[in-house]
Each structure stands twice: as C-alpha cells, then as structure tokens.
Symmetry: C2
Subunit: 370 residues, 2 copies
Amino acid sequence: MTAQVLNGKKTRGSGVDIIQVAQCAGVSPATVSRVTNGRSTVAKHLAKKVWRAIEELGYTPNPQARALVSGRSRVLGLLVSEITNPFFPELMQNFEDVAGKHDFEVMVGSTNYNRERAKIFIRRLVQRRVEGVAVMTFRAESHFLDELIAENIPLVTIDVSADAARSLVLEVDYAQGIDEAVQHLALLGHRWIGFASGPMPHLTNVRRKDAFVRAAKRIGLAAEKAPVFVGDHTFEGGTQAALYFLGLKPRPTAIVCSNDMMAVGVLRVMAERGIQVPRDMSVIGFDDIHLAEFINPPLTTVRMSRQELAKAAFHGLQQLWTEKSPGSRNAIHVGTRLVVRQSTDSPREAAEALPRKPRVRKARMRPVLA
Amino acid sequence: MTAQVLNGKKTRGSGVDIIQVAQCAGVSPATVSRVTNGRSTVAKHLAKKVWRAIEELGYTPNPQARALVSGRSRVLGLLVSEITNPFFPELMQNFEDVAGKHDFEVMVGSTNYNRERAKIFIRRLVQRRVEGVAVMTFRAESHFLDELIAENIPLVTIDVSADAARSLVLEVDYAQGIDEAVQHLALLGHRWIGFASGPMPHLTNVRRKDAFVRAAKRIGLAAEKAPVFVGDHTFEGGTQAALYFLGLKPRPTAIVCSNDMMAVGVLRVMAERGIQVPRDMSVIGFDDIHLAEFINPPLTTVRMSRQELAKAAFHGLQQLWTEKSPGSRNAIHVGTRLVVRQSTDSPREAAEALPRKPRVRKARMRPVLA
DNA sequence: TATAGTCCGGAAATCGATTTCCCGCAAGTC
DNA sequence: GACTTGCGGGAAATCGATTTCCGGACTATA
C-alpha cells in the first residue's frame, strides 16, 4: 500500500521527506507541516493537494525529526512490578492501546521488585525523553522516582501520591469490591472469615486490609477481631496464609486474599490437603486475573479493571499536560467489584441447616476430609 | 546524581547539550561525539576531560537528534500473538532485557490473533523506523509482514521463514523435548497416549504433532496410529480435547498437549469429572509457562526457554545487521527439554502390577471414579 | 480612495546530535 | 633537510521536521 511507483522508481514510505511532498503538491514545506499537524488555517484546495501528495508518495513524517524540534517525543513510560503476575500484562496491553490511539508509544519495564532494575529502567526513560510515566507498581518505594521528579516529568501513580509538582494519584476504591465480597460471604452464612494480606508497610496492602476489617465489623460478622495473616503477594505467600488459617481454631470457613496469586496458592494447599473448595472452605481473590477463570475451581474474586485503570492513567497524564497550575491535585477514582465464580459457597454446617438451593455447578470431586 | 548545580543554576540531564559539554571540556562538539561513540582515536587526556565534563554536567545525548542524523533509531519491534498466554510476557521481558543491554528500546505488540491489530502495529513500527523486528507469533500469516519486507527491515521469525532478503528463522527443535516426554511416559508404562494438537494449517503445530507421532512410532508404543485431536491452542481447545479423549475406547492413559494452556484446559475437565491426575490420567504440556508450576497438580511439561528464544532472536537481528551478503541463510537452533513435575505417573493398571516405588508427593485427594 | 486589520503561506532559523572534509603537526624515509 | 605519510581534532554540512518571522493580498471601515 505504502510503497508506490512514482517516476518509475520505487519510493519507500520512510524514504520520502517533507520537501518532496511540498514539491509534489506545489507548496512550501511549511505548508505541508501545517497540514499534517492541523495547524492554523490552510486554504482548503491547498490542503487537498497536500493530502493527495502525501497519499501518492506514501509519506510518513519522521518521528525523530519531529521530536527533535518540537521537544515532544510522543513516548510514555509504564512501570509495573512483575511481569509474571498476569494482572500486569493485561494492564500493559490496555495502556498501550489507549496510548496508541493518541499516537504515543510506550516503554514498559518490570521491576520484579528489584530496586536496581527500576533505577536502570527509569534512567532509560529519562534518556529517551518520555513525556510522562505511569507507575503501576502498587508500591511506595519513593526514591525510585526521584530522577523523574527532578526532570519534572508528568507522573501518575497508584494509591500513594508522588510528592511532586506534576503528578497525580489513581485512588483505587478497594472498599467497594471488598465490601461486596464480605457481604457475599455473609449471605452464604460465613461468620468467621480470614484475610490473607500482602506485605504490610505498603499502603495499598494496608488499604485492602483495612477495607476488609471495616467490612467485617460493619456486617457484625465476628465479635472478635477478624483473623489476618500478613504474607507475600505471591503464590508462596498464599500457601503460607493457607497453612496459618488451617492451623487456627476455630478454623475460618472462608479466606479473602489480597490478590489472586495468593488465592491460587491457597487453592493449592487446599487441594494438597484434600480440603474441598468451596464446600469445606470458600476462597476469594483480588484482581481478577485471566487465570482466575481457569483455575480449579474458578475463582470468585474482586475485579479491578485493567482497562479502567489504564484509561485512568492515560487520562491522568493528559490532565497533567494541559493543566497550567500544578495546584489542582484531584485524584482519579477507580472502582472495583465482585465477580462470583465457584470458589465460594455456604459453609458445610450452614449448608446442611439451610434448604439446599439449586446451583449451576458441574460435577465435582467427592469431599474426603471431615 | 544526574542533576547538578553548575554556575549557580540547576542543570537538568536533558537540558545539557553537546556544545556545553564541549565548552566545559575545552574541545569541539565533534570530539565529544567521537568520545561518546568510541569513534577513531581521541587522545587519552582529551577523552578523560570529556568524560569528566559529561559526568559533571550529567549529559545524556539526545536520542532523537542522534537517530535523525545517523539514521539508526535504536528501537526494535517485537510481535507476539497473545498477551494473556503467560509464555509471551516472559518472552517479552527477556527480549527487552537483551535489547536493553545493547541500548535498544523495544516496541511490543500483541496481535490477539487479530489481523487488523497486527497491521496497525506493524505500521507503527515502520513509522517509528525500527531497525529490526522479531515476530514471535508462531504463525505463518505471511502478508502481515509485507510492509516490513518492502522496507527491507531485518526480520527474525519462528519456525517459518519470511520469504525476504534480510530475514532469518529460529528453528525450534520440538522433537527433542517431545521425544523426552514420550519416553518418560513409556518408561512409566503408558502404551496408549493421546495428542492434543493446535490448529492444523500452522506449521508450528504440524511440527509438534509430527514430532509426537514419530516419537510414538519410534518407541513402538501403539501398533495403531496414535490418537490425535486437533483443537485450538487455548484453554477451551484443551477442554474439547479432553472430552474427545475421554470418549475414546480404549481410553488413553496419558495426554500430551501442544501447549500448556491446552493442558490447563485438560486438567480442568479431569477435575470436573473427578478423574484423578496423574493416577487415572497423565498429562503433559508444552512451553513451561510460569503457571504450570502453580496449577493442581504441577504440570509436567516441555520447556521452551524464553530466555534462549529471546537471545536467539536478538542475535539473529545482530547477524542480519552485520552480514553483508543476504545469502547465508543459516537458521538458528533453539532446544527444548522435558520438565517432570506431578501430572504424570504410571497408569493405574501398571502401577498395581509393578512394585510401587516411593515418590515424593504431598497428600492428595482420594480417587473417585474407577 | 486610503488605511488598518486579517489571513495565508513562503523563507529561513532551529532542534542536537553525527559525519565529512580538511588542515596542521609530528614521525618516518631517503 | 625536504617530502611523504598518518593521525588527531576543529569547522561546517547534514538529517527532517517544526516554528517564527515577515511580506503580500484581500477585506472592511471611514
């Protein structure tokens, strides 16, 4: 399509420059530039000729030249914490899609919880002159970002505000989804629910945990303090949490997890111990990663929409670009909500007491333990 | 670090240009350029002064300007087929790491098996003047790449050669790992093994299937043709394959899958039907995605190393850059190998006939079906 | 009709590097 | 001692756009 034959010689898209287009259209390069950028007002008949010439030659402006003079690279940075957690690839794709629609490219980097990796990546961002960065690491490792702040690069973060002029926070409403989760369990008859939290110094994890504790209190589920296990936001963290709750007496009849990877770890321990989910133990995750649907049993979880998050991050950056005064520090709100699948059910005792309501569910393995 | 105070005013890394460095070092801009690029021979004492000036001012060359004049953007493209298959994020990260070490940035795009998405992404690659593209889609959808080929952009593909001058193929040795898998099953006592194949027109799937059929024949496992189900390379494809094999009589005692996502689908069906893996059915995957380790039971699978693949792809591009004659069309070899976990065991009958060897395995659910 | 105000579009400066061209100096050769 | 050779490094052209500046034409107003 792009490659065309003109004057008998093949002209490649990237071999055509603005001067050739200008000559072909019979105008000056400045006019071509004005047309391609929608600048000021160019007479309609001239604009038409320019577009025709562009089409004919298969011209695409050289982004390097464009960036050099305009100072705008049209590249954004996206920092995530671990690529093997499926939450992040999906977020990446959504962010790239939004950015792409606005003619931005995205440099993605995964810290893998490694301070040095993050530093190196951020240096690359600065060197490439990105126009904005979305930090989606759910972490408050402040001085990661010092270099970006020093360069006055627009910054969007999650949960915890970067203390910088051109920055903005995405406030995720964890309470919304977690309230739904706890209510869902309460309705099923659960009265003693454990919470598997992520590492505690991190604000995002504090918020998730607090949301759970408040929800539990509000429902009046347990007179005593709801049992909380503080672990890692990983598969292993989940297995540890599961072992902890199984050792408790009375043993909780349900576990709410701070993210899906932990829930997957919990499910593994339950399977190994022959504890039937959801009959003997209900499990709820957080994130709604793709995998949640595929695991056994399909995981009931709180969805934090990757698409919504990605859009919010991009719009946050847009806001920072247009906004004159770096004063209006309004956070952007991102909701969460419960997705019910098959890892939750009435606890055993309640299920026997209550009339068994018909549920759409495939045949499952017979329970083994008491 | 980068931001320094000089002459009383704060100088940002991206605010310093080569001329200031030249003045600071008392040389010409040309010399600075020569030093930063390691060009020709600059007197040691001058080079030292230049480096000192660079350090002091926190200078980083403007990549746009550099790219503009040199014609080298130092950006690569990476095309994958679906971001939700964990194989690809891991591949992406590895590729970015290798590329980053050589000062390249990477534009990643996921086609999601959507022709239009691929087209759009490739157009973006061309517009950004990438210096090379790695197409890791395991697909032969040839005319995706026409635009790249027209621009004469170096191209590395998997399995199937792009019919272009500056291109190179990564030949994955499927047979290696699949032979190991079949032998492993044979040693466990399996004699009737099903193969869940991916969609058939695609060369990569043909190769995987052929490798299986040959391995099965070579071992002399079954007098008759080994049963093959042709499905989709997805979770759903796996569930369909499982249902097919369960309907067969005699029912296979093991299923080898063309990728891990299918294997995950198979495991789901088995769990729903109460069929115990590995006691009643052994399952082997292909890829060794991260998830394979976390699913129940941990999946025995053939590992195709993402790191090896990423390195091979990058080195392939390097080869295409240096190589003068576009003649030496030597493919690059990438190996595979079996990783034994807990989804394979002796089939029930054989297990009872043979003396039960002790295996390290956690407690599992009691088998339910015959 | 004269003058001010608008609008359009061309000429040229600019962004920040790389790279070519060329000159001067020092070393080597006869 | 004169001439060649080689090498280090400065001046200036170059990449391909955007953007400023400015002049000419056209319209509106008195």
